[in-house]
Symmetry: C2
Subunit: 357 residues, 2 copies
């Protein structure tokens, strides 16, 4: 089953119907593939661009089976799809990327452990399952440190910074007393990410690293190319290639890294297309969405060559009120996600701009 | 009604659901707009990417009214939409481009007459409504000449070449004795087209002219930039601007021209997005599809700046059998139209490639 290769006219199943699923759906359409979305949300933005939407909970075995029967390959657009649902599907259809990528991407402890096993530089970390673990970990790692839930953290959620040893109890409460990981704070000069793809036969391509700028824990901008030395750029790409290969990953992955005076520190992975790769829409002939579809379809990967310098800006919440100004801006390429409701912190769209060198 | 401006969440109605409608639907989605397709074909490729498809004949007044009620603005993706249908819709909703562009684009005589009225160079032409007209026209224009039906001609259909005066009867039979136009054959060195857009407030932008290469009457390749002198390039763009302005056109238009030793000859217009503008997907931040949507939405036009040299190749009929090779080609960006059935002469997709300067 792992050898299934899609043909035009076949249907790709996508778990999750957010904006990433929506952009995947358009890329799949451009490659002549049909798309079916599985998402419990009746207003899933991707459903508008898909030929089918199964709207059911993640634990609905009958709906999952019905979904599997109408698609030839399954992929996912977010890493918090319940593993049990993917296990059910994997018994019926190839799921790409596989369960190992998904499980690792869901668990900060598993991903940090993988990086360490591969000999990649990581921040000091320790598993925290209770107040005693936290005390011990703080003793070893010191302050400042960040306590993060192992699961379901994204865009800065499920995190608490510990500035002094007496902050442990408050942090433990702030993360909801959930299984967590304590990480030493990294003194970094920049955050970069590598968008990498791996094909069914093991080939890996990497897009140029971009530099990410966050505000209140949410990605605000990605600038490409990142200001890396050739040596660090190579290091970043090689680290990404090793991670995808170690996981036998099939598809696109975002690998986030910190740049420090001592070199790169691998921070985390997202086993899917990634917000920091939206610049590829404008800067590359084959963008991350098409690349992911090619990979999970079992097709040869496309080139990851970058033909322009690009800056990507997220439109978050009320940023969409700037629409008239953005439409008048001759440097801006707009991409909206079709979300009816604007909420603070909600990603509503993005703008890409060519940077003049 | 002509002042209606769309807002994200509004719905654009598209008459015709072929590949051009499909690409318009994706562009509209990227701008946060919904799309509803009207097409009598239940397998219309655009329907897969739209949130609604009204599948009814062009003379179904009730269906047209139902369509109009669910959209805020109507546009079209092919110029052979019956004028009567558009007149019905125009009474209910803004139709952009308007009836004048549509009627002119449907009638070779009307378009040639417009070009001549604007003082633009055209091939010698004459209306032919019967054998006597044809004899008289041949006497004036001479041979070789081409007899073309005034209406419903595209991709070389409805045309007959007359090499000698005694070929008149056969040509008249070949075009089905339909109202026609006789055109003198132009001795040209190249065919170029200008993809131009005009906004609701009268601004015009033009993409760089591309050079078109045909095989058996069907566009095979477009190469951008065309090999024009700066003077001819300017002449081409100015001619396009004058035509769009004269028609009070709102939206994108393709203007085809011949390059001759004596200058440009305006050949024909398509009052819609155009096959020879597909290169803009890869070569411009805002492609022709997004540009058209911006124009008909009443939004400011985007830049038509070209940031790369591009070659576009149509995939026609059995060309899709080359898919494995195309997918392995690191220079090729593939775009398929989701058509289930391959037929000779049918446009199945296209490939764009960055050209290295």
């Amino acid at each position: 089953m792992s050898e299934v290769v899609l043909a035009p006219g076949d249907t790709l199943g996508i778990l999750g119907g957010g904006q990433l699923g929506r952009m995947l759906a358009m890329a799949a359409a451009r490659l002549g593939l049909g798309v079916r979305i599985y998402d419990p949300d009746p207003a899933a933005p991707a459903a508008q661009l898909a030929s089918g939407h199964i709207c059911a909970p993640w634990d609905d075995a009958e709906a999952l089976e019905r979904f599997a029967r109408t698609v030839q390959v399954v992929t996912y657009e977010f890493e918090n799809v319940p593993v049990a649902a993917v296990e059910r599907l994997a018994a019926l259809r190839p799921v790409r990327p596989g369960l190992r990528s998904l499980a690792t991407g869901q668990d900060r402890l598993a991903e940090k452990t993988l990086f360490a096993e591969l000999g990649l530089a990581v921040a000091p970390f320790a598993a925290v399952d209770g107040p005693d673990d936290l005390e011990a970990a703080l003793g070893r790692i010191g302050v400042p440190a960040i306590l993060k839930t192992r699961r379901m953290g994204y865009d800065g959620k499920g995190q608490a910074r510990i500035a002094a040893p007496d902050g442990a109890a408050a942090a433990w409460a702030a993360v909801g007393r959930a299984p967590s990981i304590l990480e030493g704070v990294v003194d970094f000069t920049a955050e970069v990410s590598v968008i990498a793809a791996r094909g069914l036969e093991g080939a890996v391509v990497c897009y140029d690293p971009g530099e990410n700028l966050h505000e209140t824990g949410i990605l605000r901008r990605t600038v490409v190319p990142a200001g890396l030395t050739p040596r660090l750029r190579t290091e970043a790409v090689l680290a990404a290639g090793r991670i995808l290969t170690a996981l036998d990953h099939v598809g696109v992955m975002g690998v986030e890294m910190f740049v420090t005076p001592k070199g790169l520190i691998i921070n985390e992975i997202a086993p899917r297309v990634h917000n920091s790769g939206h610049w590829t829409e404008l800067g590359c002939a084959v963008d991350q969405f098409e690349q992911h579809v090619r990979a999970v379809a079992g097709w040869p990967l496309g080139p990851a060559t970058r033909h322009a310098d690009v800056e990507m800006e997220n439109l978050i919440g009320a940023d969409v009120d700037r629409l008239p100004e953005i439409l008048r801006d001759p440097t801006a390429r707009l991409h909206l996600y079709g979300k009816a409701e604007t909420r603070p912190g909600r990603k509503m769209g993005h703008v890409t701009r060519l940077r003049r060198g």
